[in-house]
Subunit: 107 residues, 2 copies
Amino acid sequence: MGTTKSAVFSEEINDLALLFKALGHPARIAIIQFLRAQETCICNDLVNELPLAQPTISQHLKELKNAGIIQGNVSGTSLCYCLNQDKIKELDAFLASLKYDQSPTCC
Amino acid sequence: MGTTKSAVFSEEINDLALLFKALGHPARIAIIQFLRAQETCICNDLVNELPLAQPTISQHLKELKNAGIIQGNVSGTSLCYCLNQDKIKELDAFLASLKYDQSPTCC
DNA sequence: TTCTTATATCGTAATATTGCAATGTAGCAA
DNA sequence: TTGCTACATTGCAATATTACGATATAAGAA
């Protein structure tokens, strides 16, 4: 055990869970927020911005990239990352699907 | 190590990360979707619905509850859980804050 | 009281995640 | 060439998560 039983769930559910999981870490939220604040892409100003070591930040960037939440382009010696709006819309659509008009009777 | 360095991030960021983390598991997405589909609250029909053992489901419910994403009320022998729309709105607001009007220049 | 039903909790094995030092690599400047 | 800058990768220790069998607990039925 220790392994998530992904095989028993639909692909749609697993995809959503991976997206949420990628955002389920404060460093990665901070990265996303910084990316958003810059409007344009950035590289490892993050190393100066966040109180984490460079390998740790690189690892978090990799996970966000694997999840498809950010995209990166090489530009000379540095790497330029930015948000992928499509994935954010996917999450948004899921959250929207959870909304009720009325509150249920029990809670 | 192995521990997330929460102390170095703002409370707002940590809270968001905890919410996303709670949704970062397929079983918990499935639970949320089932809750939504029922409109009204349910108990452990989840045990019949999901291919997971009862203690496992109970544990996932606990985590969703800890995160504040679901709420529960005792009603006789069974427990009635339902979604907490406020938390969903929090996540929604964060995602909305990530949107650009224009695509950045690099990606 | 005893039984059943619905749930929570404990304990534990398997595995995943986090964080970082050390090290690698690739581009550019001198 | 040497050296620097901006990353990525490797390896490892500490810790967290996942899943579940076994075992509680609490309410209601018989």
